[in-house]
């Protein structure tokens, strides 16, 4: 898949999955099924038809958000091929019904609210506030300069420091962010990609100063560079160089930080970039297979690293399609890992995932409507069996959220957990004719994409040619057009809209963060030992130049000497250069 083009598995699988569906399964008695078929036909010709004749004007061309056409009714006839071994039990292959036997009865999903803004002090305060409110996992967002590997005093950072997240220019900033938070006791998710290796080193550095051994650290860095080229587009180097760094991180973590989830394979951004649910599913899993192959290339055993790969999906407004997507993802992952990569170990087969409700579904018009949207999306994620969840705040179409809005978003999850009964039963929508049928559709479409990607020469080649990016851009334009033409409705935007300038209170970030960060960086540079900094950076450069070296060890040394993020990333810029994306207009 990664450097593919020649693997016959994908073509075979794409074909067999469709053929398999056409066969008759064993779940239903043949005669009973014949009855159902007759019954449906009769219902259609009489009851349904008469109803429509009396009240014409039924909506035509009804489809899912991905464009899968829908009938008005689903019955056992639509899932007649089903063999129950394809569905199984929670905690059992193929994990369609959930990854843990008792699902939310044993443990609720982790309520993980993404936060981070302004100065490290601001973020430290917000993290502590969330811990006090009962949040169970920390999550940190970084600003653009950090994401692109520039220090706060770089010219390109001007005006962007602390705007979309917290700024980190050196280990010192991380010490402040996690000040007073015992890193041995929390799990922290850091949304960082291109410089994920550096931030992992910094986190380990803070732990070291707190006296917590690396082996005890729990958390996640995103480090999913494939989706950066596909969707979010926050890279520094060409794909090969970034993949090499990901490989180094995989090998390093397998050895030194066994509880660290070093890649969060992310569909979230693919979806936010305008993809369909089908594309999100297909491209994210393709990336996942890509990382499996990367790990194998590095000489690791799948069993060694697959349990540390986690996934990150979007949940947006087409409720049932989203649930089908989550279910299909689990079944595809387990199936392909077992059949294609020969995995036997159970822990490597189960797909654990984090979900975030869709930012793109929020509207700046009538912002309180977003509370409702987020609640529906969150419910879909829970019914889809997510392991952790971030709910967006209603004011996020405008700016970073205010504290009040964040609280409502967290309460939304708590209401689902405590009041709705949704966590009582594993995979409560399993067995719904419609949901099972839709789950199969999603799977089929995903396998077709895997085949196409492989035929395009594998992921890396397809990405460099802009194939996946173009697919997404085209879908995103299709969606926008549908809203523009009134085929899809967005309440408060193209339907039930009103002239309004509803002022909502938004979080203000001024140049205070930029000034404070620049001052701190200057003082860090003054107090550190330049000779040691230069020596560690020189060793890092050597490691970068030698492809079979593991660069994380020298990077950790550089971080501990307070070499800055920009300096460390800069070493790579010299070694590998930068990257310009293919034009996909």
């Amino acid at each position: 898949m990664l450097r593919g083009g020649k693997d016959p598995y994908w073509k075979r699988k794409a074909k067999s999955v469709v053929e398999q569906r056409a066969e008759s399964g064993t779940l239903y008695d043949k005669r009973a099924l014949e009855q159902v078929r007759k019954g449906v036909k009769q219902w259609q010709d009489t009851v349904y038809k008469e109803w429509n004749d009396r009240a014409p004007g039924e909506r035509k061309d009804v489809q899912t958000a991905s464009g899968i056409p829908l009938k008005p009714l689903y019955t056992p006839d639509d899932v007649s091929n089903a063999d129950y071994s394809d569905q199984g039990y929670p905690g059992v292959y193929p994990y369609l019904r959930g990854v843990y036997p008792n699902m939310y009865r044993g443990r609720l999903w982790t309520m993980r609210m993404f936060s981070g803004f302004g100065t490290p002090e601001d973020t430290n305060r917000r993290l502590k506030m969330l811990l006090e409110h009962g949040e169970t996992g920390l999550s940190v967002a970084f600003d653009m300069p950090t994401l692109y590997g520039y220090d706060c005093d770089h010219q390109r950072a001007h005006g962007e420091v602390g705007r979309c997240g917290v700024n980190v220019s050196s280990l010192k900033d991380m010490e402040v962010i996690f000040g007073g938070i015992p890193l041995g006791k929390v799990s922290t998710s850091m949304t960082i990609n291109a410089p994920a290796t550096v931030l992992t080193c910094m986190y380990a550095g803070v732990a070291k100063k707190q006296g917590v051994p690396m082996a005890k650290l729990r958390g996640t860095v995103q480090a999913d560079m494939l989706k950066e080229y596909i969707a979010q587009k926050e890279w520094v180097y060409p794909p090969e160089a970034h993949l090499r760094l990901v490989r180094d991180l995989m090998v390093f973590s397998s050895k030194e930080m066994p509880l660290w989830n070093y890649i969060s394979v992310s569909g979230y951004h693919i979806r936010e970039a305008g993809s369909s649910a089908v594309q999100e599913l297909a491209f994210t899993l393709a990336d996942g297979f890509g990382y499996v192959e990367l790990g194998l290339e590095a000489g690791l055993k799948v069993e060694q690293f697959a349990p540390r790969l986690s996934f990150f999906f979007n949940s947006t407004m087409d409720f049932f399609e989203e649930i089908a997507k989550f279910r299909a993802a689990r079944r595809i992952w387990a199936t392909v890992l077992r059949d294609r990569y020969g995995v036997k170990d159970k822990r490597s087969l189960l797909m654990r995932f984090h979900t975030q409700t869709s930012g793109a579904s929020l509207t700046w018009q009538q912002p309180l409507n977003n509370v409702v949207r987020t609640a529906i999306e969150a419910l879909a994620a829970v019914l889809g069996g997510t392991q952790s969840l971030h709910t967006n705040s209603y004011d996020e179409a405008w700016a970073l959220p205010t504290e009040q809005a964040v609280e409502v978003a967290l309460r939304t999850q708590q209401i689902i957990a405590e009041e709705t009964g949704a966590p009582a039963v594993a995979d409560p929508l399993g067995g719904s004719y419609y949901v099972e049928w839709l789950t199969e559709q999603m799977e089929e479409e995903a396998y077709k994409y895997f085949d196409r990607i492989e035929a395009a020469g594998g992921l890396l080649k397809a990405i460099k040619a802009g194939y996946l990016q173009r697919e997404i851009a085209e879908n995103s334009y299709r969606l926008s057009r549908r809203v523009e033409e009134g085929k899809d409705s967005v309440v408060g935007v193209n339907k039930y809209s009103k002239t309004e300038k509803e002022p909502i209170e938004t979080l203000k970030i001024d140049f205070r963060a930029q000034r404070a960060q620049t001052r701190r960086l200057a003082s860090v540079k003054k107090m550190r030992d330049e000779t040691k900094v230069n020596a560690t950076l020189a060793r890092l450069e050597k490691a970068f130049e030698k492809d079979d070296a593991n660069s994380i060890y020298p990077m950790l040394d550089a971080v501990m000497q307070y070499a800055t993020l920009g300096e460390i990333v800069g070493v790579g810029r010299r070694a590998w250069g930068t990257y310009r994306e293919p034009m996909i207009l």
């Binding site: 962007e160 700046w364 523009e484």
Partner: protein, 142 residues
């Protein structure tokens, strides 16, 4: 730079760009397609150009319009910077429009600098395209 051909009927040439550290290109790519479908000649800057590079590209490509988009909150520094450099490079007649996530109170300041439109997510193509056409008409009749 030689004064550009300002034939009233000339097809509108528009540069679509994100002048900052912001990879969220869904909006610009959709807009680029919408401008193209509306009959304009569209040039896309690609990702991560600096404001200087965007301004230079606008001059080199002899465009009528620069459409800027940022979702990262840096519009108050990046948009005016593009405009300033454009003016300095002799592109005073190039129309600058913007969009993205732009709080209401930032708008008057940007508009005073001649950066208009300032559409947020979910705005209609028709409205945006009309705005661009309107500004170009004004500029050509000036």
């Amino acid at each position: 730079m030689a004064k550009k051909s300002t034939a009233i009927q000339r097809k509108i040439r528009i540069l679509v760009a994100k002048p900052g550290l912001d990879g969220h290109d869904r909006g610009v790519l959709v807009l680029a397609r919408a401008f193209r479908d509306a009959g304009m000649e569209v040039i896309y800057s690609g990702l991560l150009p600096s404001p200087e590079e965007v301004a230079q590209m606008a001059i080199d490509e002899d465009v009528d319009v620069v459409a800027l988009s940022l979702l990262n909150g840096a519009h108050m520094t990046a948009f005016p910077k593009v405009k300033r450099i454009l003016d300095r490079l002799g592109g005073k007649d190039i129309v600058v429009v913007g969009g993205g996530i732009i709080p209401e109170e930032d708008k008057p300041k940007l508009m005073r600098l001649g950066i208009t439109g300032l559409y947020g997510p979910g705005s209609s193509f028709e409205e945006i395209v009309e705005h661009v056409r309107g500004r170009v008409r004004e500029e050509r009749w000036r």
